[in-house]
Subunit: 358 residues, 2 copies
């Protein structure tokens, strides 16, 4: 018991645990799904063009330049785009805005581990909907009363993609709830997998994206939502009730510059997809079970070698994976797709370990 | 009535209205209390040194470099410092963390207009404590049951400073509540006005600061809190339950660099204080009532000329002031202290207007 009178009045939460961010440049960092290829030359140019006088002034609170660039990119009007400090900020504000209700929201039992943290902090009730035995999201399982639905597509950490038809069926069956599709990894999925084009047809759809993965800009903290103007307006009202100036000057102008740089962007995505496919094949040859990935990471387990053992041994060699000590997935590792030479070292390391242990 | 089933479930708030951010470089912008002097040469140097590879990676979630530089600057250990996306982010998280209770929190009736917005959004009950007739915060008025207290010192938009003794009496009389002293403008007050040095003595004290005013970095969005390690830990838990990576890479390294640059910083503060004193004198000579300012702005009214009239006429001439249409202060204007040549133009304009109207 604390001696402090104020102690009982304080909000106590169990926070989300982010992946480690070791500073050592020599490690092979495959634990936080960053893009191994840096941003393009265009960004370097824009950094040099930053206007010192704009640091002194408050940024444009609507981050209009960035919002307009995103609206152009997606071919929507600018009142359909909301930006935030990474997709975590966009999702946190979406939870605050859209799930202000007594009914339980639904999300998968195995998914982005921030969802239950936001719900707990904001006092939102939720129900975990189990993935199938094959770790897939089953649309029918969401066909029940709810106060909202959140699904990442592809899901994380499973990397498995859900079909557009399944999402449409969820949207149709929960017309009175907001359905958030978290497309953090969609750029690594086959073209045509996104549901951004459905925002006009389904007024309950909010699609969330990030610059941290495919756009190679985790360090800049930019995320966004695309939805209909009504829902974007509600989101903005909450944002303006929380912090009028969430986006700083560098994130607005540098964020805008990378959107224009689409060829470079497509190039790195294609390289990552190619590496993902060859790496998955090699993992399977080593006896790993690898879930079919549409993301920039794979989720894999080995029948003979303990995941914690692999995780620990890898770390000793300076290779960082992500491990979740959670039901159903505690024998899996999430491995971000790095550059080819990094994945070669990973394969060599795993080959040695599997041979030793088997 | 809306046709949408989800409409009733959405959080509806009346957001804070930030001051206008016109893009035109020719205007005299005295409406958002920015520093007219840009950041130092040191910042320009650091911008050029930004490491492109750090944009691809998630920033350090604890923003350790920045936290350590602030801890050094204030001579406290690093577990006593919390950083956020401007002091608005720090205050919003403080409201979420510390006012999680059924009792009313207290703040002045005339103060930073974001306080009631946060309280309303987060469902926190509050009671406005009237300033005295002279627009001063009276310590005894806070000597009543409460779930927390928030006071900016100097207060805004009045610019009036409260004594350390008064703050100490508030801290002593509300030991079971968290008392937030928002020191956004303290660097423009006489030395020794801050209460940061009291955080060890009073375990219920949280002091909030910003880089947006004296540090000339509104565009970077950096704010911080200094308090005891327990309260900082609770704040961090809420932060990690909301967004693990609120501070982007530029804000961490550039923020750090300006802390080191203390001589430049002191120099611009002294210039602003000097201008504030001469400008206040001239306003008084024009018949204005000017509240005694310890900030980088003045709060003034004229007995013969309507504040809205001054506001509108100034805007036509490209001079932006801030006006609050609120009880007791709707005859006042808040005027940020700009450079001497800007204030000369403002004085000339006001002289003409007052002569015409009187």
């Amino acid at each position: 018991m604390s001696d402090f009178g104020w102690e009982k009045n304080i909000r106590k939460v169990v926070p989300y645990t982010p992946g480690e961010q070791p500073e050592d440049k020599d490690i092979i960092k495959l634990n936080t799904n960053e893009n191994p290829y840096g941003p393009s030359e265009e960004l370097i140019k824009k950094i040099k063009e930053l206007d010192i006088d704009n640091f002194r002034k408050y940024p444009n609170p609507a981050a209009s330049e960035l919002v307009e660039a995103l609206a152009d990119f997606h071919g929507v009007s600018k009142d359909k785009v909301f930006v935030g400090v990474g997709s975590d900020d966009v999702l946190a504000m979406s939870f605050m805005t859209f799930f202000f209700f007594f009914k339980k929201i639904l999300f998968p039992d195995i998914t982005y581990s921030f969802y239950p943290v936001w719900a707990d902090m904001l006092g939102i009730k939720y129900e975990l909907v189990p993935l199938t035995e094959d770790f897939e999201v089953k649309a029918e399982d969401y066909n029940k009363e709810n106060g909202g639905i959140v699904i990442p597509n592809p899901n994380a950490p499973t990397a498995i993609l859900m079909s557009r038809d399944d999402i449409i069926s969820i949207l149709k069956n929960s017309k009175d709830s907001i359905v958030i599709i978290d497309e953090a990894y969609i750029d690594f999925a086959p073209e045509g997998s996104s549901v951004i084009d459905l925002i006009d047809e389904y007024d309950n759809l909010v699609v969330v994206r990030t610059f941290s993965k495919s756009r190679s800009l985790a360090g800049l903290r930019v995320g966004y939502a695309v939805s209909n103007p009504m829902l974007i307006k509600y989101l903005n009202n909450v944002k303006y009730s929380y912090n009028s100036y969430t986006m700083n000057y560098p994130s607005i102008v540098l964020g805008k510059s990378v959107i224009k740089d689409n060829d470079y962007f497509k190039g790195t995505i294609n390289k990552i997809i190619k590496t993902r496919e060859s790496f998955s094949k090699e993992l399977k040859e080593l006896g790993f079970k690898v879930l079919p990935s549409s993301a920039n990471f794979v989720f894999a387990s080995h029948p003979d070698v303990d995941a914690v053992k692999i995780f620990d041994e890898a770390k000793k060699k300076g290779i960082y994976f992500r491990y979740f000590n959670a039901p159903r997935i505690n024998e899996f590792l999430r491995i971000t797709i790095g550059k080819d030479d990094e994945m070669k070292k990973v394969t060599d390391f795993l080959k040695d370990l599997v041979t030793e242990e088997s």
